[in-house]
């Protein structure tokens, strides 16, 4: 039975040499690998950068394009808005795009905050994303680029690191931005969802449609009025109506149409 490993002192040398060879080969492999990766990464980086720079204008001005770009980044595992590691405070987008896209969302976030705090008194800190968009678009100058609800949602996400109370919640099928740290209970959510249909609800409407007891409907409505999320109209025919502040509609033509009696 022959043994590959010799006996005697030379065997120690040989094994040392072998392991050294393995080690050097390993590090060779590693460095080639790393080099290849680095090359790939830098190629990718420069391509992405090139892409972003060529299309920076489109990214800023074309909402569909911007959404696609954001989706592409997400698909390849780059979170464009997240800060890269602790050492540098700039995000990948900031590095790649010379801040322009990044700033786009930060600027938008500032506007979102403005709209939310301007309207907090009238809506209790809960506002439909669509309304935020309308509010921002209204204040923009003529010819400013279009923004979408998707952009607004991304912008709200940029506020997270600030530990702010801003978050996106769903009421029914519609996204809302909540700018006060307040949880809605299920009854309240149900009422807000019902309000979306006509702009208002009444106690009996809730009783009929949600099969609630009067007291339950009354409580849910009064809670929401207490939160400032609904306005009460006592001049309606019959019982009081509770309106969503989101239904302050533009224009005079709409005014007559939405009223029931």
């Amino acid at each position: 039975m022959s043994r590959s490993k010799g006996v005697g002192l030379a065997a120690f040398d040989r094994s040392r040499i072998t392991s050294a060879q393995f080690a050097s080969h390993g590090s060779n492999l590693r460095s080639t690998n790393a080099q290849a990766l680095e090359t790939q990464l830098s190629v990718f980086r420069s391509l992405l950068q090139q892409f972003a720079q060529t299309h920076a204008k489109d990214i800023r001005s074309n909402p569909t394009f911007r959404a696609q770009f954001a989706r592409m980044c997400a698909a390849i595992g780059v979170d464009p808005l997240a800060s890269s590691n602790s050492s540098s405070s700039t995000s990948i987008w900031a590095q790649l795009l010379g801040r322009s896209v990044n700033d786009f969302y930060f600027e938008l976030a500032v506007k979102v905050v403005e709209v939310c705090s301007d309207t907090r008194g009238e809506n209790g800190g809960l506002i439909e994303v669509r309304k935020v968009r309308e509010g921002i678009m209204r204040n923009r100058m003529e010819g400013a680029s279009e923004i979408t609800e998707d952009d607004i949602l991304r912008a709200v996400a940029t506020l997270k690191p600030l530990g702010s109370a801003y978050s996106v919640i769903k009421v029914g099928s519609k996204p809302y931005i909540r700018s006060v740290p307040k949880e809605l209970n299920t009854d309240q959510s149900a009422v807000l969802e019902a309000v979306q249909v006509l702009g208002y609800v009444s106690v009996s409407m809730l009783m009929v449609n949600l099969k609630w007891q009067r007291a339950r409907a009354q409580t849910a409505l009064e809670d929401l009025v207490g939160e400032g999320m609904l306005w009460v109209d006592k001049q309606s025919v019959g019982e009081w109506e509770y309106w969503s502040p989101g239904f302050m509609l533009e224009g005079q033509d709409v005014g007559g149409g939405i009223l029931p009696g």
Partner: protein, 236 residues
Amino acid sequence: MTSPTSDSSATTAVPGQFQFPREYFFPPFFTRQTNLTTHHAQLVKWSSLVLSYCAHHRIYKLSISSSGIYSSNSSTLPQQSDLDPDSQPNPNSQNSNKLELFHNPKINRQLSLSDIREVIDFLRKDNRAEYIYKSEQPPNGLVDSSYNHPAGGGDVVWIFWRTPEEWASMIEKWVDETGQKGSVLTLYELTYGEATRGTEFHGLDPELLQKALATLVKRGKAQIFGQEDSKGVKFF
């Protein structure tokens, strides 16, 4: 003193339709909100509506009574009737126009008298309104259905969409720019004269003009002299 009827058409005519804000078509806007924060937001919106509405129609005074809200613009010189509570609720009076401001017929909603008073008080805190004549408060605040009480107590209130100080500085600037410092101008020609045509204070309510000039006098920037009917002012 002559009444400037020939001028009034140019200055007090309604210049186009007033664009009401969206909340004017929101039914609960006409109900006092119970939530404090909401109510405050409501008052802020009402105040800015009142100011922009009055500015648009160049209304300087509102007369508020249980029989309705009227603008009591005196495009003529001050009339005693403006201070006379009995003549206020008369819809046939030339200077009184019933206002759609607090009443939106399209959605059949109106702000109650006590709520209107609250808006006025809110404006007063901001120095944007001032009572000229204040009637006794009605025994209870719930008077908005009392349309048939012509003798209802009426308040007359200044609505300062520009404060007297703001008018004053506007006039002062004009006097300065036209090099009329040191010369004497009559109050009439300040607001109804050819020279001020095109300025913002052309057609300004005469009483308000005096209030504005009084702030200049207080600062030693002007001096008023003359009799009741023919007052003049000299700017320094």
